[in-house]
């Protein structure tokens, strides 16, 4: 279908929306704060399976009076109605063996044969803080490499738009995540890096079309027109691809279980943001920059 949506003309409306969303994200990330998981903060995560029905209150009661009575207790794998599982989160203590103590406390309250430790994760503070540093490094490195790549494949007027789109996507994904209050762990980091790759993916397809149209169209066509046209031409592809990736991550969200749920949520937001930023952010910024540097880049000399 040949659409003729005036993307560029309406760019300020979209820009405001984006700026609002990014500001909101920054607020949630820095003021409310991200709920860092055990991977980044260090700590202990225990998953128990109970053979008889028990709720959070019951578990707390069992832990009362012990060293770990202030532990976080969360229902795990809730959609599985036939099994009762709970996640217990604790702070890290050098040399302590929390699983033994908690298992025995639960056992004496609920019957030892009803308690089963499914998994135990202990992360020391050193590993946690190292990971934080590595994470930031990885995100920055990825973004930088991609920026350089775009710069060489297209030109450096195109590149900043791609990077801003990227930052926009990551920021909003993390912001929504912070808003949801979910735990930010290693899988979420993987999601962010994937979103970076995917967002650029999208942006490049548009840029490729713009590049092609610049060559194809008669030189009298203003750049604004070319960009609009390119956006419209690739619209169906952008929507369909977003749909297929969206289906995939929604399925992960529904069927992937508690361990992948955070990842899937982040990806869902990232996918939507990715397509949005491609259409409404990357291209207007490119146009803006080309206007500023009319003699540089692929579209040099073109009428804006």
């Amino acid at each position: 279908m040949k659409t003729k949506i005036r993307f560029i003309e309406n760019r300020w409306k979209f820009a405001f929306l984006s700026i609002f969303l990014m500001a909101a994200s920054l607020y949630f990330i820095f003021v409310r704060g991200l709920s860092y998981g055990v991977d980044f903060n260090g700590g202990v995560k225990l998953i128990y399976q109970f053979e008889k029905e028990v709720d959070e209150a019951g578990i707390r009661k069992a832990l009362e009076g012990g060293a770990y009575q202030n532990a976080e207790v969360i229902r795990f794998d809730a959609e599985n109605k036939s099994e009762t599982k709970f996640l217990i989160k604790l702070k890290y203590e050098e040399g302590a063996k929390p699983s033994e103590e908690i298992t025995s406390e639960l056992g004496s309250a609920l019957g030892a044969e009803n308690i089963k430790l499914l998994s135990e994760e202990i992360v020391g503070p050193k590993v946690g803080s190292e990971l934080k540093t590595k994470a930031i490094f990885a995100i920055v490195l990825s973004s930088l490499l991609i920026l350089i790549y775009v710069g060489f494949r297209f030109d450096f007027i195109f590149a900043p738009g791609a990077v801003v789109a990227l930052v926009h996507d990551v920021l909003i994904s993390v912001g929504v995540f912070a808003f949801s209050g979910r735990e930010f762990d290693l899988t979420i980091l993987a999601a962010i890096l994937t979103i970076i790759g995917y967002s650029i993916n999208d942006t490049i397809v548009i840029y490729d079309r713009i590049r092609e149209n610049i060559r194809l169209q008669p030189s009298t066509t203003p750049l604004t027109e070319i960009v609009n046209q390119s956006l419209n031409e690739t619209l169906s592809r952008t929507i369909v691809t977003s749909l297929t990736v969206f289906f995939s991550v929604v399925i992960l969200f529904i069927f992937g279980g508690d361990l992948l749920r955070g990842f899937a949520l982040c990806m869902i937001v990232g996918t939507i943001a990715g397509s949005y930023s491609t259409l409404f952010i990357a291209s207007p910024i490119y146009l803006f920059l080309q206007r500023k540097f009319p003699t540089q880049g692929m579209a040099k000399g073109k009428k804006i």
Partner: protein, 599 residues
């Protein structure tokens, strides 16, 4: 036939490469030979995929397998820890401490080796990361020369001169090159020692890798017993040192007790750091060449630690566990398990020498920083044999401890301490649950995508779906080929790859639809559809690859699995999405002479 198609493409001679070509890409292409080549390649990959994957539904390969089973390889796909259950450990190698110990060893070694030179009053001691050598001024030059020849490459020259009230000494700093090599070698030795112990313990398919300078990542699939952790961490460092009689046991005991009371450290057992602290605190009152090491006294019946008795022991190590040739579990006087060891020839000689020269002195057997026993040397021991006593809580634990110690002594001591930084233990039932979730997601996502593709792209959708199935086959085949392990995030990576794989096809199809709208022939549609989409597909996949590679580099465990499937997925997508589907289209156009495309 194909000569006709040659005529058509004359104007499109642009090379596909770095310079952005103009509108049409593509070049004179003899259809038949390229098509055959591509089809053969696809068939080969398909068969290879089957070859590598079929073993997973067959019984495992062993000596009794029938001949047709022997033709196929072992199943390569392995389940990651989060799917199979097992232990995941991250440990730091205490290289700093190892280096300090090495300096101690060097000081003793140099003194001993240069004994014949008769440097009067030669004393070497360790200070921070340097060796301070005190000797007569006249001897200094000769000493430096001897050091240069016998210990070339170790030290930086010239040494600093330090003069205090009475004497002048030389301060030797170790060369950076030597230090770095030592740290690197020590870390590698630690890995090897850990690997040996794990092998002896018996774990199926363990994985031990080094991360950075001093981090070890150990994966032990299928294991639930945490005993392995203490086996790995047991340094097994056995040292024979002499007890310093300068301070009487009573005086020493009083000094230490005072210190402990003052610093609120009264306990039965001390950690290594606490012992270091005690030594630092009492440094002024102790002779420079000795330190305090504790012996843990246990209750005879319950074997619980009662108290720790301090001993003043010379820092110099006379003999280490390296000299132990053999070790076995034996029984002591009261029937308790002990470890009997035998020294090798050179060790036995040194031991005989030592016991002869030091009759009446106490020989401290130091195991992992604590005194195991300190018998008085009555007679020279010439047969190089000895006993190490243990302190477990009960016979069964003692026996296990003895067995573990024998393993450690025989495999060799750890060159440095290992401190546990992270541990994850996953039970098999959680793993099985995750597999189920992973598979469901995969199958369901594939189904939804395939239905959508047919609904939206009709005939083209069917072709894309075939490519998708082939893609999945190749991804699993490559994982099996490289014996990579599948994790839950790995499944997520595959699901994601599927979503992105159809993207390549979508780009092509959308282009083809445009060309179809413009009224082109089937041939031209395919030609320009693929041609124009190529650069977009390659660029976009390469950038996803960049973030995949970065993730692979720094991720561990399950996340690495995710990065792996993502990277493999990109490669297979390029092949199945572009080349494979092109084969089908070319066959339709040139083989079946289809005139209009269902897209």
């Amino acid at each position: 036939m194909w000569p006709l198609s040659l005529k058509k493409r004359k104007k499109n001679n642009h090379p596909f490469g770095r310079d952005d070509p103009d509108i049409r890409r593509g070049r004179p292409r003899p259809y038949k030979s390229m098509q055959t080549l591509k089809t053969l390649l696809s068939a080969f990959l398909f068969l290879m995929g089957i070859y590598v994957l079929v073993p997973h539904v067959l019984p495992p390969l062993d000596d009794n397998s029938p001949w047709y089973r022997k033709l196929l390889p072992e199943s390569g796909l392995s389940l990651g820890l989060d799917l199979q259950g097992g232990l995941y450990l991250e440990m730091d190698v205490d290289l700093k401490d190892a280096f300090q110990k090495h300096l101690d060893y060097l000081s003793g070694n140099i003194e001993k080796n240069l004994e014949d030179e008769k440097f009067a009053g030669l004393k070497i001691k360790k200070e921070d990361e340097t060796l301070v050598v005190t000797l007569k001024k006249e001897d200094q030059d000769k000493f430096i020369e001897k050091l240069r020849t016998n210990y070339s490459g170790l030290f930086q020259y010239p040494p600093q001169e330090k003069t205090d009230e009475n004497s002048s000494s030389l301060v030797f700093k170790l060369s950076d090159d030597y230090k770095n090599r030592f740290l690197d070698t020590t870390a590698n030795q630690a890995i090897e020692a850990v690997r040996n112990r794990i092998d002896k313990y018996g774990v199926a398919e363990p994985s031990i890798t080094r991360q950075g300078l001093n981090r070890l990542v150990v994966e032990l699939p299928g294991l639930e017993d945490e005993r392995i952790i203490s086996i790995i961490q047991k340094t097994g460092q056995l040292e024979f040192r002499l007890v310093n009689k300068k301070i009487s046991p009573d005086e020493l005991f009083k000094k230490v007790k005072e210190y402990l009371e003052k610093n609120n450290l009264e306990k039965a057992v001390f950690t290594k750091d606490e012992v270091d602290g005690i030594n630092a605190g009492l440094k002024a009152t102790l002779p420079q060449d000795s330190e305090i090491i504790f012996e843990i006294k246990r209750d005879n019946l319950t074997k619980k630690p009662l108290t720790s008795i301090p001993f003043l022991v010379f820092k110099r190590v006379e003999l280490t566990g390296n000299a132990i040739q053999d070790a076995r579990v034996s029984t002591g006087q009261l029937g308790e398990p002990e470890v009997a060891f035998a020294l090798d020839r050179e060790g036995a000689k040194i031991f005989a020498d030592l016991t002869e020269k030091n009759k009446g002195h106490q020989l401290a057997i130091v195991l992992d920083g604590n005194i195991s026993s300190a018998p008085v040397i009555k007679n020279p021991i010439t047969d190089g044999a000895g006993i190490i006593t243990l302190g477990g809580l009960d016979r069964a634990t003692q026996l296990k401890e003895a067995q573990d110690l024998v393993l450690v002594l025989k495999e060799g001591a750890l060159p440095a301490n290992l401190s546990l930084q992270a541990k994850t233990k996953i039970g098999p039932s959680l793993g099985a649950d995750s597999i189920q979730k992973g598979l469901y997601s995969l199958l369901f996502a594939a189904a939804v995508i395939m239905v959508f593709m047919i609904a939206y792209y009709r005939g083209g959708g069917l072709i894309a779906n075939l490519a998708l199935i082939f893609n999945l086959l190749l991804i699993f085949a490559i994982l099996a080929l490289f014996k990579a392990s599948l994790s839950l995030p790995g499944f997520a990576g595959i699901v994601l790859t599927m979503g992105m794989a159809v993207d390549a096809n979508i780009i092509i199809f959308e282009r083809m639809r445009e060309e179809k709208r413009a009224g082109k022939t089937a041939k031209a549609i395919v030609e320009s559809g693929y041609g124009n989409a190529m650069s977009a597909i390659i660029d976009s996949n390469l950038t996803t690859l960049i973030s995949g590679v970065v993730l692979y580099q720094f991720g561990t465990g399950p996340i690495k699995g995710f990065a792996t499937t993502l990277i493999i997925g990109i490669a297979t997508t390029m092949f199945t999405g572009i080349i494979f589907t092109r084969i089908i289209y070319d066959w339709l156009i040139y083989g079946r002479k289809v005139k209009s495309l269902s897209i």
